[in-house]
């Protein structure tokens, strides 16, 4: 079919893996066959509209190959109007994702034309101490788990007297419900490269590694191509992608370092901190993707601009990831401080299934489950920590009322048992025992027995079986041991989903609120 225009029309379609998974290639090919010039760009992050097609700033989505002819003939059924004016985009404050949807990920021209490399150029004119000072002044905190200030980490590495140091990008934080890292690496890879090169200048490191999870094959391909394309620009700094091998615990920085060295990804005890003795025993900056990707803005536009976003000690913007059973899922970058209700109900449009929301899990598989009546909680590090929850990577996973919280709590223990590196006892054995206790609670049988261990003489359990109160008390005690006794966040944070599920939804475990409160008191 011939399009109505004579000049070829430019059509933009995302080449991000989420768009591909939704069929973007077939849509792009259909536009091409119709005579359009197709540009493959990054994703805007409005996932419910993918494949989203951008024609002269107007968006259409979700588009199937069969819709292409109608769109080219002026059909507006799938039109969402001007993409930039769409409420989902207009309400955001995009820094890290300022280029999302607008540029071709591997185009150096597009990157340069949208302010790329300005930070690196400036950094080259600054003294290393000044770069570190600016990162500190911006208030940038690690966007992974604990929210450790990036500037302090950099300062320690910069002060170390070694000539050889490393920058390691932790791109293995594969928390369920998070995809911002993947979107940076697939959509704006030069931004991460620039951030790492600046970090190299700041601390005196000549080489960087991106440890990337194997579950992101497209990000691996894009990152490798981007490193190749920008080799001369970032020289003498050099970069290499290393691919993980499906071990969740390697998102933990010291496990990651062991894995990079070709060992089992077992956690290292700290101290020494990686900033003092990291990769190959040398001083190493380990930051995650979002942290490093924020750096070019901070240096290019000054730390004040960045620090002006957010509130309290949570500065800058946070790319919130709306995921799970949510109607308008995607990437929403905003200053800290929005309430969960705004994010989930207002922006996310509540559940995709149309059923009532039961729970949201914030901060990945080790984050707490939060019930509907606590949705006014404000989104920042301190408020969440105060509420016994975690922001983690900024992922929000929504569950509708069909979710079985006992099953999800059991899954958290099971996941910890499967993924434990085995180095410390609370995590390695605690998670297995936790799963067993949970099985007994869920089956409603209490403890049937010593047959569980088959060692009636060797432990101090009662032979008559254990009541539900005792089981819950035991689980609570076990969770405390894991929380305070584990070497890293895998064992240490598993109690968050488990205990929050038990506390807020005891009926799913066949228990009552009084029983749970009594047992955990």
């Amino acid at each position: 079919m011939t399009p109505p225009q004579t000049a070829p029309m430019t059509v933009r379609v995302a080449a991000d893996s989420l768009a591909l998974a939704c069929g973007a290639d077939a849509v792009a090919a259909t536009f091409q066959r119709a005579g359009c010039e197709v540009q493959r760009v990054s994703s805007w992050g409005m996932h419910w509209l993918e494949p989203l097609v951008d024609i002269g700033g107007e968006g259409f989505g979700p588009v199937a190959p069969g819709d292409v002819a109608a769109i080219l003939h002026g059909d507006k059924t799938l039109s969402i109007g001007k993409i930039e004016e769409h409420p989902f985009i207009a309400r955001q404050m995009r820094l890290t994702f300022a280029r999302a949807g607008k540029t071709r990920p591997l185009s150096l021209d597009d990157y340069g034309a949208t302010g790329g490399w300005r930070g690196l150029q400036k950094a080259r004119e600054l003294a290393p101490e000044t770069i570190v000072e600016q990162v500190t002044a911006s208030g940038l905190r690690g966007r992974g788990g604990a929210g450790f200030p990036a500037g302090i980490k950099w300062k320690t590495v910069a002060a170390a007297p070694c000539t050889e140091k490393y920058i390691v990008c932790n791109a293995d934080e594969g928390d369920s419900g998070t995809f911002a890292d993947r979107m940076v690496m697939e959509g704006d890879p030069f931004q991460l490269i620039e951030g790492m090169a600046i970090a190299g200048l700041a601390v005196g490191a000549g080489k960087g590694f991106i440890y990337l999870r194997s579950e992101y094959p497209h990000a691996i391909k894009t990152m490798r191509a981007a490193i190749e394309a920008s080799r001369e620009i970032v020289a003498p700094f050099t970069l290499e992608v290393r691919v993980g091998a499906g071990a969740y615990v390697c998102g933990e920085e010291t496990s990651l370092l062991n894995s990079l060295e070709g060992r089992r990804g077992e956690v290292r005890a700290k101290p020494p901190l990686p900033a003092i003795a990291g990769l190959f025993g040398l001083p190493t900056v380990v930051n995650n993707v979002l942290t490093l990707a924020a750096v070019p803005h901070i240096i290019a536009d000054g730390p004040e601009k960045y620090a002006n976003f957010g509130l309290g000690r949570s500065r800058g913007t946070m790319p919130v990831q709306l995921a799970g059973n949510i109607k308008y899922g995607g990437l929403f970058e905003a200053g800290f401080g929005m309430s969960l209700r705004e994010l989930v109900e207002d922006i996310g449009g509540s559940t995709a299934s149309g059923r009532p929301i039961k729970a949201v899990q914030v901060g990945g598989p080790l984050g707490a489950y939060i019930p509907l009546d606590q949705f006014d909680i404000q989104f920042d590090y301190e408020t969440y920590a105060g509420a016994g929850a975690l922001i983690g990577h900024g992922g929000i996973v929504v569950f509708d009322d069909t979710a079985d919280m006992a099953r999800l709590a059991r899954f958290a223990m099971h996941f910890c048992a499967e993924e434990s590196c085995g180095k410390c006892t609370p995590c390695r054995i605690g998670a297995v025992r936790g799963r067993e206790i949970m099985d007994r609670i869920i089956s409603g049988n209490g403890r049937p027995v010593d047959a569980v261990e088959g060692l009636p003489q060797m432990h101090n359990a009662t032979t008559a079986g254990r009541s539900h109160v005792d089981e819950v008390a035991l689980l609570t005690d076990l969770c405390d041991t894991m929380k305070y006794g584990s070497l890293c966040a895998l064992g240490g944070f598993t109690p968050y989903p488990v205990m929050s599920a038990l506390r807020f939804w005891p009926e799913d475990f066949g228990l009552t609120r009084e029983l749970v409160e009594g047992a955990s008191a």
Partner: protein, 146 residues
């Protein structure tokens, strides 16, 4: 199979490419598996010798990571995401509804998150990502049903 006469010969060629340092072990294992489909006993011995490591040390690394297979897999492999976000979108129900013979014909590996958490359930099939899975699409991907 492949152009190499043995797994040890393949290891030798890959060590040539990656270098004989321990930190090359993961890249070596990835390439080896891509080349021959799994990490054999013979390959582990060859790797240990080439990198000057103990056999148990290499074995320990291979067994630690979920990605590495120690047996050949002849069935098509579907890596299905079973993490929380896909659970919230019904992946467990999807698995429960699969026909009994499905796992005899297809290797259904569990992965924990492909980063497509707002459009699940998702899977990785032969390097291609697939979103919005339902029972029918899953069977089509598996080639069980056309």
């Amino acid at each position: 199979m492949n152009e190499f006469s043995s797994h040890a010969a393949c290891v030798a060629a890959l060590v040539e490419r990656h270098g004989a340092r321990q930190d090359a072990l993961l890249p070596l294992l990835h390439d080896l598996q891509a080349e021959v489909g799994f990490i054999s006993e013979e390959a582990i011995r060859a790797l240990a010798a080439a990198l000057n490591l103990g056999r148990a040390e290499v074995q320990g690394v291979v067994s630690f990571y979920h990605d590495f297979r120690t047996q050949p897999e002849s069935r098509p492999v579907i890596k299905l995401c079973r993490a929380e976000a896909c659970q919230a979108r019904g992946v467990e129900g999807l698995i429960a509804a699969l026909p009994d013979d499905f796992t005899q014909r297809v290797a259904l590996d569990s992965v924990y998150c492909l980063g497509l958490c707002s459009v699940g359930p998702n899977a990785l099939v032969g390097g291609a990502v697939q979103a919005h899975l339902d029972a029918e699409k899953l069977q089509q991907l598996a080639g069980v049903k056309s």
